[in-house]
Symmetry: C2
Subunit: 222 residues, 2 copies
DNA sequence: GTCTATATCAAGATAGAC
DNA sequence: GTCTATCTTGATATAGAC
């Protein structure tokens, strides 16, 4: 079974028949199942999510799921693929909203805001990804670790540019810095409760911590 | 079933009988089961850990486990209790190793080192705690969230002292700061691989990031 | 305290009618 | 494409001999 099998279905162009609706029913059902799976995985984790839970949420039957996916694993694989796609495009969008002449610091700040927004959004796909990643079969984990590492490329580029501009001190290890920052952001799903502070306020605090630290200002070396 | 049922067994003093070894066999077996449980939970997560895996690792029988614990849940509860105990005492020890006149910054730095050491140690209990927390039954989660919050008291005290000393800028939100820091540290278990950098080197980078940020030094306001 | 055997149950997956 | 019925497997938990 290919990891991408579920995603390989494309809306194939067909001879124009005015009466046909643009979205086929089967596509809609498949989408409902995926949405339901993301919903259930987010709330119950991978191991405790039953196909019957997913079927119920998708308003269909457990056995009907097998018409669309060949196994439980195929479903989770597709959910994770979509989650990664969403995260990457979200962070990329946040960065490219910055004006052309923006400094590296401004672009990193924008990326931090984008990442917090997606992590703390009510998006079931990305939340499910965080929650279930270390419960899925090893094979899938290995595959998606590669995807994750590819997506980290955007951060590496950002950090390299920041160093070149002098926005990151020369004696800081860029890899560790990136991993510490991502951890700070990703872990927020464990404690964030809407209400006291907005997502953007938290992102501001994090960006400030990232560049300036929590301590008082200190003079540059003479 | 009380959450503490498993821990309630104490080495009860008994009339001195020189021949008796100080550690009863049953205590040793129980400890072996707990060690094995921590080992398996760490590697497989909660849901995928089978009692038979634990029994095998503990060199006993699945059914024998029920002589020591009344359920799977009782085992995990005891593992988590021990994990919390270890973490708290580790961080506390790191702090109290500092000399009496140490600054808040020095004590926080020491605590950061202590926390990284326990998170990235090869201790199965604390690693298992990180891995399985969001897979355990809700009732247990609620209980241990309270324990976690109690343990966070040490960080709150540290931060309050730092603010009083001016080591943390006045416009930083202390709660968010603490949660961001803990996330940065806790997430490290996801990416740390022994080799390139030591745990203490990572802790140094984190402490520096925490107080001074990754950016270049900036002048204090005049 | 430990072992063998087994009851019980839940969940993924499949068959085949409609 | 969807439904009912069922197969199959694997895991927790218990009974009872030793």
């Amino acid at each position: 079974m290919s990891i991408d099998s579920a995603s390989a279905r494309e809306a194939r162009p067909r001879a124009a028949k005015p009466k046909k609706p643009p979205i086929k029913k089967s596509e809609a059902t498949r989408a409902r199942i995926l949405d339901a799976a993301a919903y259930v995985f987010r709330r119950k984790g991978y191991a405790h999510a039953r196909l019957s839970d997913i079927a119920k949420k998708a308003r269909t039957q457990t056995s009907s799921i097998y018409y669309y996916f060949e196994s439980r694993e195929a479903i989770v694989s597709e959910v994770l693929r979509i989650a990664n796609e969403k995260t990457a495009s979200y962070v990329n969008a946040a960065i490219s909203e910055q004006p052309v002449g923006a400094t590296a610091r401004e672009r990193i700040t924008a990326a931090i805001h984008g990442h917090f927004r997606i992590v703390l959004s009510d998006n079931d796909y990305t939340s499910a990804h965080m929650r279930i990643f270390d419960q899925i079969p090893e094979k899938l984990q290995e595959h998606f670790l590669k995807v994750l590492d590819q997506n980290a490329g955007i951060w590496r580029d950002l950090f390299d540019a920041a160093r070149a501009e002098g926005a990151i001190a020369p004696d800081v290890d860029l890899s560790v810095l990136r991993l510490l920052l991502l951890g700070m952001m990703n872990w927020s799903i464990e404690w964030f409760k809407p209400g006291r502070m907005s997502v953007d306020q938290i992102a501001d605090q994090a960006a400030r911590l990232f560049f300036d630290g929590a301590g008082p200002p200190r003079a540059p070396a003479p």
